[in-house]
Chain length 199, copies 4
C-alpha cells in the first residue's frame, strides 16, 4: 500500500537482480511508477532505501529468532534451530536477503556512518542471541565446554558466509539440502555426548 511500498518493492527486485550500485534511482522510480523525486521525498538517500530494507528485514529476523530461542528447551536444540531458521528465512525471503548479502556497500558498514551503527547494532544483537544459546547449552549440559564469544562469532560468520556463497556463486552447484548438513556439522562440534550421532 502506498507509494512508499511501491518504491521498496521495486528497489528490492531491482537491487536483487542487478545489484545496488548498478541500479539507478531512475530505474527504481520507473519500475515503481512514481516520480524519481518521490524516492528522495521518502528516503533522503539512495542508501536510505537499502537501510530501510535492511532494518525491516533484520527486525523480523531477530524477532523470530527470539521466539525460537524461548521455545526450544536445551541450548543445543535452540542453537540448531537458529541455524535451521537462518536458512529457511534466507530461502523464504530470498529476494530481500539477496539484496542485503549481495553487495551491501561498505560505505554503509563503516561504523561511523549512521547506517553503520544500525548494522553493527543488529549484528551485535544477533551475536548475543547465539551466545545466549551457547551459554544455556553449557549450563544444561547439551553443549560441551567451548568458548562462548568465539564460537558465536564462528557460527555467525559461517551462516553469513554460506548464504553469501550460495548467492554469489551461482556457477557452483550444490545439494540444496546442504543446510541440514550445516546443522550436523555444528551438532557434532558442539554436542556434549559424542556418540557421533548424525545423518
Amino acid at each position: 500500500m502506498g507509494r512508499k511500498d511501491d518504491i521498496i518493492n521495486a528497489a528490492v527486485s531491482l537491487f536483487a537482480e542487478n545489484g545496488y550500485f548498478a541500479t539507478p534511482t531512475s530505474a527504481v522510480a520507473k519500475k515503481a511508477c512514481v516520480a524519481e523525486g518521490l524516492i528522495f521525498h521518502h528516503f533522503k538517500n539512495k542508501a536510505g532505501i537499502l537501510i530501510y530494507i535492511f532494518t525491516e528485514l533484520s527486525e523480523v529476523y531477530i524477532r523470530e529468532i527470539e521466539t525460537l530461542i524461548k521455545k526450544a528447551k536445551p541450548g543445543l536444540d535452540a542453537l540448531l534451530a537458529v541455524v535451521r531458521f537462518h536458512f529457511e528465512f534466507a530461502e523464504s525471503k530470498s529476494t530481500k536477503f539477496k539484496v542485503l548479502l549481495r553487495d551491501f556497500p561498505l560505505e554503509l558498514t563503516s561504523s561511523d556512518s549512521e547506517a553503520g551503527k544500525i548494522i553493527a547494532e543488529h549484528m551485535t544483537i544477533s551475536l548475543n542471541q547465539i551466545k545466549k544459546c551457547i551459554e544455556r547449552g553449557r549450563k544444561d549440559g547439551s553443549i560441551r565446554d567451548v568458548p562462548m564469544e568465539e564460537t558465536a562469532y564462528i557460527i555467525r560468520g559461517m551462516l553469513n558466509g554460506l548464504s553469501r556463497f550460495k548467492i554469489n556463486m551461482p556457477g557452483i552447484s550444490i545439494n540444496p539440502n546442504i543446510y541440514s548438513e550445516v546443522e550436523n556439522f555444528c551438532r557434532r562440534s558442539l554436542s556434549r555426548q559424542n556418540k557421533s550421532s548424525d545423518s
Copy 2:
C-alpha cells in the same frame, strides 16, 4: 617494479581503503604517479585491475595450499592446516585480501563474464583441495563419515564468511586468536576419535 606494478600497488591500497566502486581510476593514476591513460594501456578495463590482483593472489593461495596438503600426512591434519593457513594468509596479505573480500563486484562474479569464469574456476579448485583432504581423511581414518561435497562447501563458506566478517565489521571486536578456535571447531566436528581433545 615498473609502472605496471605501481598501478597495482596503488590500486590495492585504494581499493582496500575505499572499495573498488568508490575508487576512480583517476585516483589510482594519481597515487601511482602515472597518467590515467596508462592504466588502460596495461589493463584494458578498470575491472582488469581487479582481475589481475585476484588472479595473482589466488594463484599463490592455491599453490601454497597444494604444497601444504602434500606435506601433511593424515587428512584431518591437512584440512586443519588449510584452515590455519587461510587465516595466516589473510593476515599476512591482509591488504590484498581485503580488496577481494571487501566488495568484490557481482558484475564480475556473474558467471557469464570473463572474470566470473576465472573466479568460479579458482573457487572450484579451492573446493576440490578441501574435498581432497576430506577424502583422504576418510580413507586414513582421521575424519569421520561426513558427506564430502557438502562439508567442503561448508568449510569454504565458513572461511570466507569469517574473513569477511572481520574485515567488514570493524566495530565488533573479537579475540584475535579466534582462528585457532576455528580449527578446534572443525576438529571436533570432523575428527573420528571423539576424545573431545581440545584446548
Copy 3:
C-alpha cells in the same frame, strides 16, 4: 503574527544567513513550522517572499526619509541626515537589510519583470528624495553648484556600495564609525562655505 509572519521571519533570517538562492523553500517552511504548501498559498512565488520583504522594508525606509527631509531646514543638513539615517537604518534593521543587499537576484532586478518594476520604482523615489535635498540646498545656499542628477546618483550608489561592502566583506575590518566619516566626506564635497570644516 499569524503564519504569514512566521514565514516572513523565517525567510528573513535564512536569506540573510545563507542567501536567497541557497535557501530552499522547504527550509523556510521547516523553520517557520508550517507546511511547505502554505508558502505558496500566501506568496504565489518564492520570489514573492523577497518582494514582500523588500516592499515592506523599503516603504519604511522611504517614509522615514520623507519625514526627515521635511524636518531638516537647509538642504545640506537634510542630505547629510539622509546619509546618517541610511546607516542607522541599515544597522537597526540589519538582518532584513542584509537580505536585500546580499544577493538580490538579478532576475528580479531586470526591469521587465513585475518585481523589477517595483524595485526600480522604489529606487527612483529614493533618488528623487536625494535630488530634492540637493535642489533645496542649492537654493538656500547650503550646497554648492553641483549637477543635481549626477550627484544624487553618486550618493545613492555610494550608500549602497558601502553597505554592501560591509556586509559582503566581513574579512575586511573597518572602524565602525566610518559612517560619520561618510558624512564628512559628503559635506566637504557639497558644502558651499569651504572652511574645511570637518571631523
Copy 4:
C-alpha cells in the same frame, strides 16, 4: 586559446547575459562547443570558472592601477586617476566586469572558502593602493587632512557601488559622463586648496 579559453569566453558572455546562477554548465559547454565534462577537467567547479575570471581580471586591474599610481605625481592626481581608470576599465572590459559585479555569489565571498580568501586578498590590495594615494597626497599637500583608512574604504565602496548601480539598474538612465562627475565629487572633498575649482 585552446579549449580552456573557449570555455572562459563562453562563460563570460553567458554569465554576463543571464547571471551565474541562471547559467547551467551545460549551456557553457554548448556555447564553447566542448563536452560538458571538459569544464570540470579544467576547473574542478562551476565556481572555479568564476574564480578564474575574477583572478585574471583583477590582476590586470591591480597591475594597471599600480603603474598609474607610479606615474601620477601628486597624491590627489593619483587618486583621481584611479577613479577615472576604474570606470574606463569597467567600460572597456564591461562584459567581464558585469559578470563579477552582477551576482558574485556570497558563498564565494565568505572568507573561509578558498575563493573568499582570494577575493578578500585582492580587495585588500586595492584598498592599500588607494590608501597609498591618500597618504602621498597628505604628504605632498594635495590632499587635505582626512582619515586614511576610512576614506579609502569610502572610495572603494563608492566605485563598486556605482558600477553595480549602473549594471543592475538598467531601468534608471543616467548621463554617461557621470563618471567624470565622480572625480569632481572626490576632488572637492579631498583637495586641500578649497577654491571650489571644478566644472
